[in-house]
Amino acid sequence: MEIKYHFYHLFVVADMLELYDGSLEVEKITNSWYDRFRLSNYGAIITFVGVVRDEDGIDGLSFDIYEPILNSWFNDWQKKANEQNAIVLMAHSRGDVFNHTSSYIAAVCSPKRRVALELIDSFVEDFKASAPIWKYDIINGKRVYALKRSTKIKSAGILS
């Protein structure tokens, strides 16, 4: 039984970062996470859902993702979480996401709440600062890069 459990856990680990074209099906994704992990004795499951706001005349947002670096960024966070007996989960949209729908969901599962509460904060903040994802406003059917709301990655400018 123990060996079976470890195999199951290893198999499941691969699917902790999910990318979808367009808006996220929030209930489907968060329910699937709950179903997958509620038996693993995580006493605290914290989910952050990001929703596209209707502002400044946009119809929505659009995203480009560079997956190779996103994957390594995410794996580094998984290792950090695992060191505290926790796991991180994430879903993000590629392409167009219209107002009042979700483009991003992040979650932490942990045996105890303190770790989860602190991890969700640092996980989401680091995501905003480091994840290789570019945001565009959708205005009159066109994508306009949201430079003013974007953050330079650490070590930016070394070629200038």
Binding site: D64, V124, P132, T151, I158, S160
Partner: protein, 73 residues
């Protein structure tokens, strides 16, 4: 030859360049005026690992990626 890719909003086709380190790459790219602001605000990855040393060597077949400012979520 080193392949240089411009990610996200930079909107430039990849280049194949004969350069030996990031310093040389910087000199070549600075020649392109459309890249000036991108060079100032973009991070650099070599073979999908972010690097911060301008003397980082480049070898044949390496991939360099320029990553402009990000905004996930």
């Amino acid at each position: 030859m080193v392949r240089v890719e411009f990610l996200g909003p930079i909107g430039k086709e990849p280049l194949e360049l004969d350069v030996e380190n990031l310093n040389q790459l910087s000199i070549v790219l600075k020649d392109d005026s459309s890249l000036k602001s991108w060079l100032e605000n973009s991070a650099v990855a070599v073979n999908d690992i972010l690097v911060s040393d301008k003397n980082h060597p480049l070898k044949d077949g390496d991939k360099v990626s320029l990553l402009p400012p990000v905004c996930g979520g």
